[in-house]
Amino acid sequence: MHTHDAVIIGAGHNGLTTAAFLAKAGLDVLVLEKNDYTGGATVSRELHEGWQYSNCSYVCSLFRPEIYNALDLGRHGLKVVPLVSSMTFKQNGDYFGSYQNPDIRRREIIRHNHRDADAAVRFDADILRWCRLIRGFLLRTPPDPGSFRPRDAFEFAYLLKKFHELSESQLYEFIRFFTMSIAEYLENYFEDETILAHYSGGSIIGTGLGVYSPGTAYVLLHHAMGDVDGNIGAWGFARGGMGSVSGAIASAFVEAGGKIRTDAEVARIRVTGNRATGVELANGDVVNAKLVVSNLDIKRTFLDVMDENDVPSSVLRRAEQFKIRGSSGKLNIALDGMPRFPALPEDSPLTLGHMHFTDTLDRLERAYDDWKDDRWSADPYTDTLIPSQYDPTLAPPGKHMMSVFVQYCPVEPDGGWDANKKQAFADTVIRQIDDYAPGFKDLVLHAEIRTPKELEEEVGLTEGNIFQGELTFDQLLFNRPFPGLSQYRGPAKGLYLCGSSNHPGGGVMGAPGANAAREILRDLKRPDTTPVEFSDD
């Protein structure tokens, strides 16, 4: 029977990324996917005739440009249309818009608070500095603090060197940035309540934290990294929906000789004598491979598809303790026409970007309080986009496709989810939009309602956590997924991990996948096909 060089469990964007780099290095790689489509949570799906929904991830903000270049994804059909504005509707009928053009942006900030316009200059400069610092760590393997190997010492030295380049006060500012809540951090700069709420929102997306929870400030980088480093093209809508991202990576993989098998759910990773030897599928088929790479989250990998006798008890315990709570829901809506927002001037470009309806920090925090008590937010924070304004492939002419990301939504409300509760959750969101776009309700032709449960059941993300594990500071760098297991290697020989449960975490970034490939090639003593981070400094 044929033995593959490597088998990858799960055709999410990270699994495909690892697969593509391994195939480029000449390995015989097979990707196994449980669904009948590839992409994991990076997909476009026609769930209502004529409409394409990016029904899980919905913007292309973090994808590493180094990977885009290394895999030549442009040639494989990935086109990213820049997304350049964001806005928040105010309860009093006004709005705050954040524009790409610096002059217009400044004027808009002054309209709300003139001191905040100067603060914004300081803020942008500081955020840019942290972006540049953090970016250097994304495509690297974290050092293991328990190791005395030269390689880890070298990596620690690299980290120290990077930090040593900061001045003493910048070092303290960085620690503060890393440990503060987004609300308090922004209050160091801004005064206007709407501006504070506007820039806070991004920091709670996908987290089990509120705007006043320590550790949320740095999540801002996840949103700033794409748009301030000059790679505007790397931040925006993927033409054709997010499926184009995974589709392009898959295409690069197949071109390099790789194979993908869908409808192939892995039931078990086979381990013989502490070495992974392949996988067993749900239908009983056995696939032999010299290496097994799991794109599944850490809980699924160790607690579901591995025999507990094959995993050391300390790893099992830490996998159980790994925090991976779902907190987000989503509505994908087919619209009969473009909604009208009376607060905005006619033909305002602001409908082209992110739209939010939560204009105070207290409202954001109360949305979080609901989630802590296992309820969906009565007044949620949403990230609403209408990408069909840019991309005619998403909806029939004259019609529109709307993506509404909802924070917060519990994994399991009291008594569990049922059809009525799902509808009530959706109604809460639609009512909120309708408050700012009268008549919106009547435009809704179809709405796909997604709670963390759907994300778990369809995509396989435990508890529906979009990052394959919470991005709190206790689960980052060498603590991701947990100390002692942060270098993409599983507890058995030949077993590797490439999902977002690993450094540097979630978002459609591709970095965990590339880093895992690099470690595998290193162990195989093959030439490295993965990119190093580039610098525009």
Binding site: P145, L171, Y172, E187, P214, D362, T472, D474, N479, F482
Partner: protein, 492 residues
């Protein structure tokens, strides 16, 4: 001119710092605004003949040699079941939880011990550090890697940034036990059990536990004052400082509210950073960004104080009458604590407040010769409460207490509720630690960077309050660290 050292504020840290310096030859004058020394540890009258000995309910011994009677923590529930935590063990919970507690306590005491080099010294700077800081960092690294061993170090790294809610759910089943630990992790801070960083605030508390088990706070101030007296510190009460005198970025003395000026070469402020820099010193001599950082220190108090004058000792359901000297917790489960915390985020008082209470008169009969006093810390209470809200909160506290002490009402002679702002009026500041012990206000960023090593940008001006590293609770660790730093030649 003789070299004089002035300490502003005779609270636990001011007095500890003053005593430390006086023992090493400094001529120390300690100025206190109130009519008696003690700050938050100073006693006050609930009613005539009834006195509570300060705001804290308990203390950990300030050094290992200390002797005193240890007290237990007894968690009460309206259903009359109790959980009792003593120095070594816990009772009233399942065998599994009892065993888990023993292992848990051992591990976390080891973690607290590993952090000791960091707690008992000025926080190291991260660049341009002097040799002493390098030593602190190396000792810390050694204690973590070698002292704990690799696997325990991994565990330490995993948990140190976590919240106490998740950690306790990993280890225990019993909600009352979890609530008791969570209470200790959040007491004094505007944090709930789910706030990241609460494992660290709990470890911070546990550091005191290394010196011995919990004791009543009733004897704290008398002992401290006798120590201060024997060290030769001159404590002057009723002397509010209204200005720190500065000439050319160097301290020259202080000015009292009555206009009297006292010359000093060294001034150590035992009051919080905001008051010290923005009010007493003034921002004229400060860098604008430094002043901004001080301005942004988070230090809103959320702990209220409630006391009762009692004609005789009430009975607590299912608690032995001989156990009245212990510390009682009347708290909901962790989710309930989190809900109570939610309210204070929006400046409202909790509908189901957390109550920690003791009867200090059991330990010191002179506090209430004709009966007893009950002293309680109440969480969470916003800084300001209207009279109507105060009345409503008092009612809720009374209801909660009555649920476990059915005969309480007959014995109450007087009640006394202080919101954080009332506490501030009484002793200068309402926050337990003069500033949140959040991660971004810890260590070399406490109270703000630029003044985190007890020194300040003003030459000759130092800080020693709970707002400095390592924070408050009785024991005066910040004051003692400050004294050591000044003696070692810290320069402003």
């Amino acid at each position: 001119m003789t070299e004089r050292t002035v300490v502003i504020g005779a609270g636990p840290n001011g007095l500890s710092c003053a005593a430390g310096l006086a023992r090493h030859g400094h001529k120390v004058l300690c100025l206190e605004a109130a009519e008696a020394p003690g700050g938050m540890a100073a006693g006050f009258d609930v009613a005539e003949g009834y006195r509570v000995p300060g705001f804290a309910q308990w203390q950990y011994p300030s050094d290992a040699s200390s002797t005193g009677t240890s007290i237990d923590t007894i968690v009460l529930s309206p259903d009359a079941s109790t959980v009792r935590i003593d120095a070594e063990s816990v009772s009233g919970v399942s065998d599994r939880d009892q065993q888990a507690w023993a292992a848990f306590l051992e591990r976390y005491l080891a973690f607290a011990k590993a952090l000791q080099p960091l707690m008992d010294a000025p926080p190291p700077r991260l660049k341009h550090f002097p040799a002493a800081d390098r030593k602190t960092l190396l000792r810390l690294a050694w204690k973590l890697r070698v002292g704990l061993g690799r696997d325990e170090m991994y565990e330490f790294l995993r948990v140190v940034g976590m919240n106490i809610f998740d950690l306790l759910n990993e280890h225990f089943d019993d909600e009352r036990l979890k609530a008791a630990v969570a209470f200790d992790a959040v007491l004094g801070n505007a944090m709930g059990p789910r706030t990241p960083g609460t494992v660290l605030t709990w470890l911070h508390r546990l550091r005191g536990r290394l010196n011995g088990p919990m004791q009543s706070a009733a004897s704290y101030l008398p002992n401290l004052l006798s120590d201060v007296d024997s060290a030769g510190v001159d404590v002057r009460c009723g002397s509010a400082v209204q200005r720190i005198l500065i000439d050319d970025e160097t301290v020259t003395g202080v000015e009292l509210a009555n206009g009297e000026q006292i010359a000093a070469t060294t001034v150590i402020s035992g009051v919080d950073a905001k008051t010290t820099f923005l009010k007493l010193a003034g921002t004229r001599d400060l860098d604008a960004m430094f002043a901004t950082r001080v301005h942004q220190v988070r230090d809103a108090g959320v702990v209220g104080h409630f006391s009762l004058a009692l004609s005789e000792m009430p009975t607590i359901r299912d608690v032995d009458a001989r156990s009245m000297g212990h510390r009682y917790l009347l708290v909901p489960d962790m989710r309930g604590i989190e809900r109570a915390y939610n309210a204070v985020k929006y400046a409202e008082a909790s509908t189901s407040p957390l109550i920690e209470f003791t009867f200090p008169s059991v330990h010191d009969a002179s506090l209430a010769p004709k009966g007893h006093v009950l002293s309680a810390s109440v969480l969470y209470v916003p800084a300001k409460l209207s009279d109507a809200d105060k009345l409503a909160l008092e009612q809720r506290i009374r209801d909660a207490l009555r649920s476990i002490m059915p005969d309480l009402d007959d014995k109450v002679r007087a009640t006394h509720l202080l919101a954080p702002d009332d506490i501030a009026t009484r002793c200068g500041h309402a926050h337990w630690h003069h500033g949140e012990l959040s991660l971004h206000q810890s260590l070399m960023m406490r109270p703000v960077y630029g003044a985190a090593q007890y020194t300040t940008p003003i030459s000759g001006l130092f800080l020693c309050s709970a707002g400095c590293h390592p924070g408050g609770d009785l024991g005066g660790r910040a004051g003692r660290n400050a004294a050591a730093a000044i003696l070692a030649g810290g320069h402003g």
